[in-house]
């Protein structure tokens, strides 16, 4: 098994997750959350869950990022934390 790739992706997931909740810009948080979902999708493709990876690639990385961006567009972009 190519454990190096898995290790790198798991670390990336943690970094992106922390980044998504700490960055002081809601648009950036939405984009980081999309990247986080895409890393999750790669992780599931490695684990052999191809259907879940496909769903996550289209739903998590695609549509939910658009929803976040349109919500930020209709509300406000800055935040205190």
């Amino acid at each position: 098994m190519n454990w190096q790739i898995e290790f790198i992706i798991l670390t990336m997931v943690i970094i992106l997750g922390i980044g998504a909740i700490t960055v002081k810009d809601l648009l950036g948080a939405g984009i980081l959350f999309g990247a986080y979902s895409f890393m999750m999708c790669l992780l599931w493709a490695i684990m052999g869950a191809v259907d879940v990876a496909f769903t996550e690639a289209s739903v998590g990385a695609g549509v939910s990022t658009v929803f976040f961006i349109s919500a930020v567009f209709r509300t406000t972009r800055g935040t205190k934390d």
């Binding site: 259907d51 549509v63 658009v66 349109s70 209709r74």
Partner: protein, 276 residues
């Protein structure tokens, strides 16, 4: 507050790590999750349904009730978004921007003013003005049909490869959203109106439940697709495969409608005039 939350988080993490020590080793073929019900699915899916993709057969046939109510949850979420956000305003009670194409002048029509007709000369533009980009518009218009074609392939070929109703429906919805972003929201609503999107939401659920009801009327249990053999003139195993396809189409239509309708409501905050 932060310190208190941190303590709770660390306590929870400790508890979960303590629980992890009782787990079976990772990727163990003898783990309890893989030994009870899933071997039956893996070994019998070909002879029961003739669908090689086990995930599809479990999703739509063995656990058809589960998926049906998940579809109803999605439908309910779409309706909830509609009721939370949708506002209807009278046409002449807002200010709008119009672009006069011949002279290149942008006009602001105040509240209550007389609105020009959408014609060759005047085109409505969004209040948050974005520069007109020919490349983005034409490229998106070129790729949208191919994305939709791929989505149809994903729905129809879900029996043999990864894919199915959920993925295909989301991809069609994403193609619609791409069109709405690259042009503007009004152009997308002109193609797929709000009424049609809501109709698709309920039509998908109706196709799913209707397939189940058809099986009931043909003399077997609800969602037991073997009953469809009588009207499809095939053996029950092939009929199950066709029943799964019908259900996947229903799921795809419902998911597409919900994704598009949620996007319309979110991006215009319920007004359906100016989008992202």
């Amino acid at each position: 507050m932060k310190a208190f939350a941190l303590i709770i988080v660390i306590l929870c993490a400790g508890l979960l790590i303590y629980g992890t020590s009782d787990f079976p080793p990772w990727s163990d073929p003898e783990s309890p999750a893989s030994t009870h019900v899933s071997p039956y699915y893996i070994e019998h899916t070909i002879e029961d349904t003739s669908v090689p993709n086990i995930v599809t057969s479990v999703l739509a046939d063995y656990r058809g009730f589960d998926t049906m109510f998940e579809t109803i949850v999605i439908f309910t979420a779409g309706i909830a978004c509609f009721f939370l956000l949708r506002v209807t305003k009278r046409e002449d009670h807002e200010s709008r921007l119009y672009h006069h194409l011949v002279t290149g002048v942008t006009l602001r029509i105040k509240e209550g003013g007389k609105l020009p007709d959408e014609s060759e000369e005047f085109r409505r533009v969004d209040t948050e003005w974005v520069p007109y980009s020919l490349i983005i518009k034409i490229t998106c218009r070129l790729i949208v049909p191919f994305i939709m074609l791929f989505a149809l392939y994903v729905i129809a070929h879900g029996h043999h490869s990864p894919g199915g109703g959920f993925q295909g429906g989301v991809i069609i919805g994403a193609a619609m959203i791409l069109f709405a972003i690259s042009n503007d929201l009004r152009a997308a609503i002109l193609r797929l109106s709000e009424k049609m999107a809501t109709f698709f939401c309920s039509a998908g659920v109706f196709i799913y439940a209707g397939t189940g009801l058809l099986c009931l009327l043909l003399g077997l249990n609800f969602l037991d697709y073997g009953a469809l053999a009588k009207i499809l003139f095939t053996d029950p195993v092939t009929a199950r495969s066709h029943g799964i396809l019908a259900v996947e189409i229903g799921v795809g239509i419902a998911v597409m409608g919900v994704v598009v309708s949620i996007y319309y409501n979110l991006s215009s905050a319920g007004k359906h005039d100016e989008g992202l």
